[in-house]
Amino acid sequence: MESAEAKAQRNFDLSLTVNGKAWSGQVPVEETLLEFIRNRLRLTGTKRSCESEVCGACTVLVDEQPVSSCSYLAFEAHGKSVLTIEGLAQGEKLDPLQEAFIRNVGAQCGYCTPGQIMAAKALLRQNPAPTREEIAEWLSGNICRCGAYPAIAASILEAAQELEEKGR
């Protein structure tokens, strides 16, 4: 039988979609999804910050579920669909969440904002009409050190309402 050492792969043949576009190629096993997105695809909206899954700045959706891309190995996304902040707008038209964050100034420095919006996107997919309390609970893992929380919550409530009205 082949030894484990001989069998172990140094690189992984990865195929996935990012913001609807297919990508295939080899990545080193240790490459994180964050590195893959930022360095390989040059999509720099997703931010690196705490690298310990606490702050949420690196949040992206993998098959619609939020993950910390800093601590998620790229090979794990094989066969899956990744959504980053760059994938939310439809052409020139921003996502209702993005519009609501702009209207409410749901940011100060803006560094955490892509992660906040991606976490909110996942929330609204699971729960289209969240209460303020549910928003606070879901986003408890997305830290805003400027303290823009009230405006962030207001933005998400507004976007949810807008989506609901559109859906009617």
Binding site: S3, A4, E5, K7, A8, Q9, R10, F12, P28, V29, E30, E31, T32, E35, E51, S52, E53, V54, G56, T59, Q65, P66, V67, S68, S71, Y72, L73, F75, E76, A119, A122, E137, W138, S140, G141, N142
Partner: protein, 295 residues
């Protein structure tokens, strides 16, 4: 990024075990990666090979066999908080799982990874001790079955041998007529104190009770002596009995100062949350999230 890594993707426990045996310390079992990647990046753990146990299909099962839940080691926290079987047969455990860290960690992290890492600042083990859960371990010499408290030996230390892996966690439900509660204090998304209690009331007395405390010291503990003092007591005496148990709790729990709180604070709050958990279990109102959060 951690240093260069090589990947093994076994499809059976024995294949994983053979890889661990061959590679020894150079290999790390990889499940959710939430703790491991952090440690590798910080240089707190070293490894050249990841043995990805998520490619073993049987480790993803959640089954009810008529007597117990059988949960594969690679089931994620998010699956545990939402799975209907878990919510039906171990609702207090499901509620504890819903409080683990944040939604991203719950999506990535696994029950097996959590128990095998055995960080004292953790929720699942405390709830599981009250259910008298056990674990199935597999390795070169076959499988063995251990009560959870004999698996979680000390902080960051388990009973796993070098070529062994955790296969599944077995959770018998609480007997009929019992109610339960899980309460916690947390900072920075990690608990600094977790209290689980289950209780059976009869005619205004505590007929039977189980309690466990985690995070306070190096090891999650069942409170056997306090349980026996509470057994048979009147319901309204429970708070007093818990209040008088401070010396016992200090000796058993070995509370330590850490960034999340002083030993004295944690010990004081252990008494507070134990009283609240008993009250909450007795009230039968288990629907709310049982959380006290700071920061």
């Amino acid at each position: 990024m951690p240093g260069a890594l090589r990947l093994l993707q076994p499809t059976t426990p024995s294949e994983a075990s053979a890889a661990l045996r061959e590679l020894g310390e150079r290999a790390k079992i990889y499940a959710g990666g939430t703790e491991l990647l952090f440690l590798l990046r910080q240089g707190l753990a070293q490894g050249d090979f990841l043995v990805n146990v998520k490619t073993i299909p049987e480790l993803h099962r959640v089954l009810w066999n008529g007597n117990a839940l059988r949960i594969g080691a690679c089931v994620t926290h998010h699956e545990l908080e939402t799975n209907p079987l878990i919510r039906q047969y171990a609702p207090m455990f499901a509620r504890a799982e819903s409080q683990v860290a944040n939604i991203r960690v719950r999506n990535q992290g696994t029950l097996g990874g959590n128990l095998c890492f055995n960080d004292p600042h953790s929720d699942p083990g405390t709830a599981l001790l009250v259910y008298e859960a056990s674990v199935m371990i597999g390795g070169r010499s076959g499988q063995r079955h251990l009560p959870l408290d004999q698996f979680l030996l000390d902080m960051y230390t388990t009973a796993l041998g070098e070529d062994e892996l955790l296969l599944e966690v077995q959770i018998p439900p609480l007997p009929p007529g019992w109610n339960s509660a899980y309460l916690r204090l947390h900072r920075y998304q990690r608990p600094t104190l977790g209290v689980a209690a289950a209780i059976k009331e009869k005619n205004g007395n505590i007929e039977d009770v189980r309690a466990a405390v985690g995070c306070v010291g190096p090891k999650v503990q069942r409170l056997a002596e306090l349980e026996s003092r509470l057994r048979g007591a009147k319901l309204d005496e429970a708070g007093k009995i818990i209040g008088e148990a401070k010396g016992y709790l200090r000796e058993l729990l070995c509370p330590v100062d850490d960034l999340l709180g002083s030993a004295d604070y944690k010990l004081y709050m252990t008494g507070v949350l134990l009283r609240q958990a008993v009250e909450k279990a007795l009230s039968g109102d288990n629907k709310n999230r049982d959380e006290h959060g700071i920061g």
